[in-house]
Amino acid sequence: MAERGCDLRAWIVWAGAASVLAMLTRNPLYALLLILVARLVDAACGRPERGIALPWARLALVVLLLSAIFNGLFVHTGETVLGRLPESWPLVGGIITLEALVYGLTTGLVLLALLAIFVAFNHIVPVSDLVRLAPRAFHDLGVVVLVAVTYVPETVRHLSQVREAQAIRGHQIRGLRDWQPLLVPLLVGGMERAMGLAEAMVARGYGAAASRAQQPGMLLGLAVGLSLTLAGWLLALWRGAAGWLLFAAGALLLVGLLWRQGRAVAHTQYRPHPWQPADTAIALASLLALALALWQGVSLMGYTPYPLVQLPPLSPIVGGALLLLALPAFLCPQHQGRHV
């Protein structure tokens, strides 16, 4: 197994495909399947010390209960009547149906699936790799993010130093007001260090290259691209296909501008990450899952309990496609004590 696990780009394809599927489906069985797949991949490939450990069981219970109860109280449609509230009560008055509860549960499951996928992604991918992902056009902003990420531990150290220094003077934190003698020295010290850092950057030639002025036509291109996407989005909600074309045209224009801006930035990489067969397999499996599910028809992904609740359909092809997303769990499991 490789020293550094699977490639970041492969994981992005995986998370992208999985979350698109989660956002498209309204079928509780598929949502459940996605949650299981994401939890499996998380358990196999993730490093739990990255990010926060979520209290999964409690979170799931709260989300499911909240969405089911909310939908059940406010939607008075469906044939399986469980009970009724007085009609005079605003909004909640009317029949309580099983269908509305099931619909609420389904939406809760979709939300949980989305959460599970990205919790797994955050556990798997290290921060430094994510920063490198920034498109070349955002080189300057990437530097800002790197400075910030690098200085966070420094700032935490600085905070504890300030706190010690103030504690020696007899300072205690009792209320909100007592934070002021900590925050202000922290801020001033941080700004002083920013000045030092800026001077060091200038001394090493940062910003000495020809000014990266905005290219001609950039603003106009951005304005046109944004207008196209907005118009396309509205039209797609309303009419479907024609709007999607317009939306895609606008998106293409914006991405093209980004690419053109990126070409103006020279860029070298210190340690390129090799792309391995396992990465190809993960990316291909994810894309195949997406393609299979879309080919089967988006309508198959949908499910509505109204007007009479029935067992949601389970197409073996869509189910199999979703299971393909579990492939990374077997291709790049995380070994204990591995060096990164």
Binding site: I52, F118, F121, F138, L141, A198, L254
Partner: protein, 262 residues
Amino acid sequence: MSKSLSAFIYGLSAVIGIAAFAYPFILASMPEASAAGAQAAPLMTTALLGLCLLALLIEVQGEVVSAKVVATLGMLVALASVLRFVETAIPGPGGFSPIFVPIILAGYVFGARFGFLMGAMTLLVSALLTGGVGPWLPYQMFVSAWVGFSAGWLPHPRNPRLEMGLLIAFGVGWGLLYGLLTNLYFWPFFIGETAMRYQPGGGAVLALQRYTAFYLASSLLWDLLRAAGTGLLLLVAGQPVVRALARFRDRFQFSLAEAPGG
């Protein structure tokens, strides 16, 4: 020309933001909306907002020209992200999050575009560090960028009490609005468009009624606590922080001597 184009882009982005957050209502008021469009709506809306954020970041990146801006922005973002750490480590009262205070104050002192970058980058970095990267990130970045951006428009009254009053009112207002907007992102997942269309006589008004009920039931208290916390923190730390930041801003302008002289 380029100024009015920039203004147009920001105006358009505000429209896109409102449309993206309000799309459940737009959809509800279109009885003839295509079913396929409705099903793909969450996905497309996320894409729309993401693209809009990309365009704005390209536009605003022109601000990041000197090493000083890079270093200052990076350092302030690091500071604000540490505050977010404090928040996740010690859950404060309700939705209280100290993260808006540095964003508002940076925008107020250093100007609208700096505030925009501060808002977007702070949310990005703290999401990277706490493991909160997901499709909700563009929404959060978009709103908090607008928090910083609009803070740059505030007038700078000379009277310190008036100044603090203004900032606190601004912070409390955004604290409430932030919850209102980010809830709208989760809302369509809780109660889908289909349910709305199955409701006889459904429409934007009914959707709005439902949303109000959802908001009151689930998050008003949370948001009130957030807003109150932001206001309180501004009251306690606002004045010295503004003074310290302004002092550094003056030091910047001192070294960029050619700027005011022309």
